[in-house]
Symmetry: C2
Subunit: 206 residues, 2 copies
């Protein structure tokens, strides 16, 4: 099972490709990158560049599923529109290839890799680096976010989803009593996710 995940954006579109290993509890990075477009270009040229970049990634890595970070409204309306448009291009590219599409919220992604739906960017990057056994943290944060989204997608799939992810996080950190801690963290994160999705308009940062 190969997931291509996109953290959509007009200026930086993070893309991460991850393979499931052993029934989805472990994962291996296949590729990571960012499609950038200059803010000085007309919006149609930027969207075309993103569309072509996505096609190249899809052609190269031939994923089984495409995951997209769900876009929320936020203070900066102009920015959210560009993000929504970039996300739309991902959805169309996936649909054109007959690939299933999944969307996850930023809270779900953070909870999946750190056990906390309100984790900061650095924490997400740190956990992605550990979970995938990378030599150095993926930069910029959009690239790490895309990998976190791919992991989130691999680990979601039922009631035990966040528990599994949190357990894995705990395992990676090498703490003792890891599973019990993970279970508690997952319970907390489930509560957080519920609370945060009700307050979804304040949730996103892009």
């Amino acid at each position: 099972m190969r997931v291509l995940a996109v953290d959509p954006g007009l200026t930086r579109c993070g893309i991460g490709v991850v393979d499931a290993v052993r029934t989805g509890r472990r994962a291996a990075m296949v590729g990571v990158g960012v499609v950038r477009t200059p803010a000085t270009d007309p919006v149609e040229a930027r969207l075309l560049a993103i569309s072509e970049g996505l096609e190249t990634w899809l052609d190269t890595h031939r994923p089984d599923v495409v995951a997209v970070e769900r876009v929320f409204a936020q203070a900066n309306v102009r920015s959210v529109m560009g993000t929504a448009q970039a996300a739309g291009l991902v959805l169309v590219a996936a649909a054109r290839r007959g690939l299933p599409v999944a969307m996850h919220t930023p809270s779900e992604v953070k909870a999946a890799v750190t056990g906390d739906g309100r984790a900061g960017k650095e924490q997400v990057t740190t956990m992605v680096t550990r979970i995938l056994g990378l030599d150095s943290p993926p930069r910029p944060a959009d690239a790490a976010d895309a990998l976190a989204l791919a992991l989130c997608h691999l680990w979601r799939g039922g009631a035990s989803t966040r528990l599994e992810a949190a357990a894995h996080s705990a395992l990676v950190t090498g703490r003792r009593n890891a599973y019990a801690e993970a279970e508690a963290a997952a319970r907390r994160s489930r509560r957080n996710v519920v609370v945060r999705s009700q307050a979804s308009s304040a949730d996103s940062r892009r």
Copy 2:
């Protein structure tokens, strides 16, 4: 000069194609229609259907320029995201063909065809029907809006843009002293347009 104009939307995407006749003061309708997608379909399937519908229209009518109604934020965030995504697909389709793209606000479109930036849907439909000499009003309103947008694009291009459009409207209505009235209407509409674009977040209806 042929304009293909799109009033973007996820449920109904209005498309209108208009040719300029005699240096842009008169215009002839080439085609009008609506791409519809069912609200029960997944968003990626809807966006793909819109993308394919747009490609068919572009292949069939081979316009010189593509006009898109500018999307504003509004109360219904979920709806504006779908609209922004549909607009993004139009922008990419145009850019992929190397066609120039223009965006106009709803106020500019209304002012262009009625002389009043705050005109209602029925007034816009009535004027589009008159200006293009159609036997019956284009339905639904999204189709009429797309034609209005195409006319707006043909007529904009300098300080005299709205004046010309209003003069043409007055001509079509057959009133006496049409030009003087049009000039006054254009002056009013110019003021309206300025005021309305400052209040743009309350401006759009989709």
